[in-house]
């Protein structure tokens, strides 16, 4: 990795939202709403402008020198670790900061309308700005420990925002669940980091041992711990990016205000795990085992979550499980070594899923905070812009050409196919499920008769421009957003792919080597190379796989269209199905799905309650109270009382007397011992 050109303005990308947080957080209700909103939106928009500057500056550099750095200070100068605080923009983090600040600005703007009547207006923007700050630290960090600071920071903000309406105990409980579940992941993250630190400390000089540049420069030192560290870091990613087994917090996180769901729990924070794995690509390419686990876990998560999404009746829950499912796709991409494609899906998904959430928010806003789709229906005519934009997003997530989701999802499935057709089959099935549950969501929300009560019905309205405008921008992005990765077999140049190439140069070098050795003999081996190395890529596109790409793309497209059509037909024709929101499967399978496979219950009874019981009844009430205090401490006290009434004397308040005699005793003993010893 290039050591980077200094760019001191990077710190302002991070600082602007922090300043916004400080202003809104400290002055809070003393500020007029207009000022709170201006500060909240303005600080993120400012960061966006700076991010664009960083991007342009980066683009002007030769491809292999595209790194901007801003060294801040020496954070933990201890021994051989010397952890620094420094920021870095390379093509990967450039994508992420544009995403975070760009989509972030839109969502902040939308929130001005959505939260207009809320008591905690300033507090909301304070938290939201703090989140953007932490997220930017996460993606700009030039070292793993600093990334972890952002990682925990976004977790904190997620906690605060899920429980934003904390008067409702369910909301704050959901926040707590999110934080604690993520802590399990953090435990893995930290251990993974320790394994790496141990290998590097003292081996790579004094500076910033856990810096990405340092680590990437010494992949051979990481090789012995690649699998264990890779798996532990991935455990961290399953927390933040809601994968099996730690995905359970994300659906509950929908308790937060909808803009929060859009920003944190769809577009940005939950993709942090994918980002981290892509960032650590030089570690992961060295471990087949960890990569395999990531691919399988990602795929399974995609499947499980998509099936649960089929039967949810809360509009946000459908989208939440959909997010879990899509994150599974991204993990799958990373698992098969296609890091750039994973990041591609992070970007496109951010556009259409943020749009879907904001659209859902618009609906919820109109429905007086009703989220159950069984009470919706027929909103198409009342909320034309919400409907149109969400429809675009639906086409995008379903993977219809030429909407954004088509390109990224298709490429993931293609890469999965190259690794193993079995991965493709499951991924393909998930695509079918995706289109189906989205069609169900759209029909139950926008088509047919409105099923709300009369009062709600009379107040139905389209949202104000400040909310619909961000929807429109995101709708445009949901169309054109995928074009940055227009594949070569369709006559494009796959710009994103080449843009990200330098970041995955380690993969390239590794891959090129492999390619050099086997000279394209083994398709499977070359797959790892294909993603990052242009040479390897050319090898593929030049070969017979262009046909495969075409076939797979057509298959993807037809299943998307077919499944959409099927879903629309089923739910528009059979209103009773729509009103009940279920019955399509019926019976036991439906109970299993609507019960979310009872995983929450399993965790509750197998882990949480036993630990609570052990702590309360065994450790505290028995070991502490009975054994130590009862038997030992009071036993000794009673013993003393027996022999000398010491305790009685003390209880009479004669401690002073005791202390004096104690002091005298000390001196007497001293004198005696001195005589004897001397």
């Amino acid at each position: 990795m290039h050591e980077g050109s200094p760019a001191e303005f990077l710190r302002w990308i991070v600082l602007l939202p922090l300043i916004g947080f400080a202003i809104n957080g400290l002055l809070n209700k003393r500020l007029p709403r207009a000022v709170s909103a201006t500060v909240g939106v303005g600080s993120v928009a400012g960061a966006f402008v700076l991010s664009v500057m960083a991007f342009l500056k980066l683009r002007a550099l030769p491809a292999d020198e595209r790194v901007l750095v801003d060294h801040l200070f020496s954070w933990i100068p201890v021994g051989e670790l010397n952890i620094d605080a420094g920021l870095m923009v390379d093509p990967l983090s450039a994508c992420m900061i544009l995403l975070v600040t760009g989509v972030g600005s839109l969502i902040h703007l939308y929130s001005v309308g959505y939260m207009a009547k809320d008591e905690g207006f300033a507090r909301f923007f304070a938290y939201l700005n703090l989140f953007v700050f932490a997220m930017l630290v996460l993606v700009l960090a030039d070292s793993l420990p600093l990334l972890f600071v952002g990682w925990e920071g976004v977790g904190l903000c997620s906690y605060l925002l899920i429980g934003f309406w904390f008067q409702d105990l369910a909301n704050s409980a959901a926040g707590k669940k999110a934080f604690v579940v993520n802590r399990v992941g953090d435990f893995g993250f930290l251990l993974g980091m320790f394994f790496i630190a141990e290998k590097l400390a003292g081996q790579v000089g004094d500076g910033n041992v856990l810096g990405f540049a340092t680590m990437a420069a010494h992949p051979e030192l990481l090789a012995p711990v690649a699998t264990v560290a890779g798996l532990l870091l991935f455990l961290g990613a399953t927390g933040k990016s809601a994968q099996i087994p730690l995905y359970v917090w994300l659906p509950d996180a929908m308790a937060g205000p909808t803009p929060v769901s859009a920003l944190i729990h769809a577009a940005t924070m939950v993709t942090a795990g994918v980002y981290m794995i892509a960032r650590m690509n030089f570690l992961y390419v060295q471990t087949e085992v960890a990569m395999g686990v990531i691919a399988v876990v990602g795929l399974l998560t995609a499947l499980v979550a998509a099936t649960i999404a089929l039967v949810q009746t809360d509009i946000k829950k459908v989208l939440a499980y959909s997010t879990v499912s899509q994150l599974g796709y991204m993990m799958l991409a990373c698992g098969v070594g296609a890091f750039a494609v994973g990041i591609f899906h992070v970007l496109t998904h951010a556009f259409f899923k943020a749009l879907l959430f904001l659209g859902a928010g618009s609906v919820i806003h109109a429905m007086h905070h009703e989220q159950d789709m069984r009470s919706m229906g027929g909103l198409r005519s009342v909320m034309p812009w919400t409907f149109r934009t969400m429809f675009v997003a639906t086409l995008a997530i379903a993977g219809v050409f030429p909407f954004a989701g088509f390109f990224s999802k298709d490429e993931i499935l293609y890469k999965a196919f190259l690794e193993s057709p079995l991965l493709w089959v499951v991924g393909f099935a998930v695509a079918a499920l995706t289109a189906f549950y989205m069609a169900r969501l759209m029909v139950m929300t926008f088509f047919g008769e409105n099923r709300a009560d009369a009062n709600t019905k009379s107040h139905l309205h389209e949202s104000p421009l400040i909310m619909t405008a961000p929807l429109m921008v995101l709708a445009v992005l949901s169309v054109v957003g995928g074009w940055m990765g227009w594949p070569e077999f369709l006559g494009g140049s796959n710009w994103l792919h080449h843009w990200l190439e330098p970041v995955f140069a380690g993969v390239g070098a590794h891959g090129a080597e492999v390619v050099g050795h086997v000279a394209g003999a083994t398709q499977g081996v070359a797959t790892h190379a294909v993603d990052a190395s242009h040479a390897a890529d050319a090898l593929h596109t030049g070969g017979h796989s262009v046909v495969t790409e075409w076939v797979l793309a057509l298959a993807s497209l037809s299943v998307a269209l077919g499944s959409l059509w099927f879903g629309f037909t089923v739910y528009t024709r059979r209103q009773s199905v729509a009103t009940q929101g279920q019955a399509f499967l019926g019976g036991a399978p439906h109970r299993l799905l609507s019960g979310k496979y009872f995983v929450d219950e399993l965790y509750e009874y197998a882990i949480i309650r036993p630990i609570g019981w052990l702590s309360d009844n065994v450790l505290w009430r028995f070991v502490d109270a009975v054994i130590i205090d009862g038997l030992l401490v009071n036993g000794v006290a009673r013993f003393l009382a027996m022999i000398g009434h010491v305790v009685r004397i003390l209880q009479n308040g004669l401690v002073r007397w005791y202390a004096y005699s104690f002091a005298v005793g000390v001196f007497a003993m001293l004198i005696y011992l001195t005589r004897k010893g001397g």
């Binding site: 201890v78 920071g153 008067q167 105990l169 934080f179 702590s615 309360d616 003390l650």
Partner: protein, 505 residues
């Protein structure tokens, strides 16, 4: 062994230590009704050491492990006992913590109305005792200061405490006394078997005791060294407190008035680990290495056991008390591994736990003053009526659960990094503490501050300016040393490196 900084000679430490004692004497001479005067005198005489401590912290030479600002005067010549004081980086860190918290505790004690004369006089006496422990370089002097702390603490709990104060005070007293006896015996054994290189006689000089060349033949027997180490260690372990010597802590905390809890958890617990660092390790380094693994295991037990017990509590103060047991486990784990990361983490954790737990106890005190109870389940929704108080308490709680960016994280993470290289399994098990830690902290936060507002407390007044004055400075340090810890790290670096070099591998 540590060397004295050449040039030497300064009375700054003596001033710092005995100013509070002067204040205490002045207060006892004042009429009993003059409450405002008692408070003011206490505030002024506690401000002195704080100013001097800040001066010490900023002017201390961080480039050397030598003892600085030392002062050596004969005290009881017949036993070769000296008034010998001086500081290294570790003691300076602890002195800053002590002076800082003592001062803020006087502010936090402003609403004490019962026998203000006795309260503030004892409080200042306590400060003198604590300061003395951290500057003493003569073991006998160390012991005297150690015992001086004991009495004011006993009375502060026993007179100004809660309903079961007598029981708690006696339990505290007996436990600590047991520790003192062990320390005393070990001290005498060292006294008799360490030679003063100048005179050839016995000596309490701690620097002489640290120099293995001065150890007599009886003291060279490894078994004896192990027994001595154990005696000293248990003496200090009771103060830390290390499982299974910890049960005095929850009782003492529950009954103690707020400011006393702050000092107890913030400073007194550190005396234990400071003793290990200042006495056990440098005087018996080989025994320290020999006990390394058991120490690490005890650290892990403290972490997990304390966290689990904290989860089971329904009294806020007891929860914070058990969280201290857990957090002091990190210190012990870091001390057990004798490498730079672990030891640095341990000392940082000593300082940071001092500030964070002080914040938590002050915050519990605020709500206790209003609601007159501390039942976690007896509140609910306080975030609605006391938003500023809620933010401040949340800050303390998130620092306690080790959120990066706040000071608690740095120490914990370094302890883990250091311990991981040496005792992998123990460290991994200890790491589970960060999950349980999050659980008990957030569960309490939820039950007290979130959810629907408890109807009884709709009129609860927001945190007052005086209360904020006592806690905001701590919050500033918690954030400052979380974002930028180098001032602390560099302060202790040379002293720790010097100590680590003494310990046989």
């Amino acid at each position: 062994m540590l060397a004295l900084e050449s040039g030497g000679g300064s009375s700054l430490l003596t001033w710092m230590t005995f100013l509070p004692l002067v204040g205490a004497i002045v207060i006892t001479l004042l009429p009993g009704k003059a409450r405002e005067l008692h408070r003011t005198v206490a505030l002024v005489t506690a401000a002195g050491p704080l100013v001097l401590a800040v001066k010490l912290f900023t002017s201390f030479d961080r480039g050397t492990a030598d003892i600085q600002l030392w002062q050596q005067v004969a005290w009881i010549p017949s036993f070769n006992i000296q008034y010998f004081v001086g500081v290294d980086g570790i003691s300076v860190t602890m002195i800053l913590l002590t002076a800082f918290l003592s001062f803020l505790c006087i502010v936090a004690s402003w609403n004490i109305d019962k026998h203000t004369k006795g309260y503030f006089a004892l409080f200042l006496l306590l400060e003198t005792g604590m300061m003395g422990v951290f500057i003493a370089l003569d073991f006998f002097l160390f012991y005297v200061f150690w015992e001086i702390m004991l009495l004011p603490m006993y009375f502060l709990i026993g007179v100004w405490g809660g309903p079961r104060r007598e029981y708690a005070a006696i339990k505290f007293f007996l436990y600590t006394l047991a520790g003192s006896v062990l320390m005393l015996l070990a001290m005498i054994a060292l006294y008799l078997n360490v030679q003063d290189p100048a005179t050839g006689g016995h000596t309490f000089n701690m620097l002489h005791m640290m120099n293995q060349a001065n150890h007599g033949s009886w003291l060279l027997n490894p078994d004896i060294r192990h027994v001595l180490f154990l005696g000293l260690f248990i003496g200090f372990a009771i103060k830390v407190p290390i499982f299974p010597f910890h049960t005095w802590l929850p009782d003492a905390h529950v009954e103690a008035p707020t400011a006393v809890s702050v000092i107890l958890a913030g400073v007194l617990l550190k005396m234990g680990t400071y003793g290990i660092l200042r006495i056990c390790y440098p005087m018996l380094p080989d025994a320290a290495a020999w006990f390394s693994y058991p120490l690490a295991i005890l650290g892990a037990i403290n972490i997990i056991y304390g966290a689990c017990c904290a989860m089971a509590q329904t009294d806020m103060k007891k929860l914070v008390a058990y969280s201290s047991v857990s957090h002091m486990g990190y210190v012990l784990l870091g001390l057990a591994v004798f490498n730079e990361a672990g030891m640095t983490g341990a000392v940082l954790q000593m300082f940071n736990h001092g500030t964070i737990t002080a914040m938590m106890f002050l915050m519990v005190g605020v709500i206790y003053d209003r609601a007159h109870h501390r039942e976690i389940n007896g509140f609910g929704g306080l975030g609605m009526v006391m938003p500023r108080y809620t933010s401040m308490f949340s800050l303390a709680l998130f620092a306690a659960l080790g959120l990066p960016g706040l000071s608690g994280f740095v120490g914990e993470a370094l302890v883990f990094v250091g311990a991981f290289e040496v005792y992998r399994t123990v460290t991994i098990i200890s790491g589970l503490g960060i999950i349980i830690g999050a659980a008990y902290v957030l569960w309490m936060l939820q039950r007290v501050f979130l959810g629907p507002l408890n109807e009884k407390y709709t009129e609860l007044p927001e945190i007052t300016t005086r209360e904020l004055v006592s806690v905001v400075p701590i919050a500033v340090l918690v954030i400052l040393f979380g974002v930028y810890p180098p001032p602390l790290i560099n302060m202790i670096k040379q002293s720790l490196l010097h100590l680590i070099a003494q310990i046989p591998a």
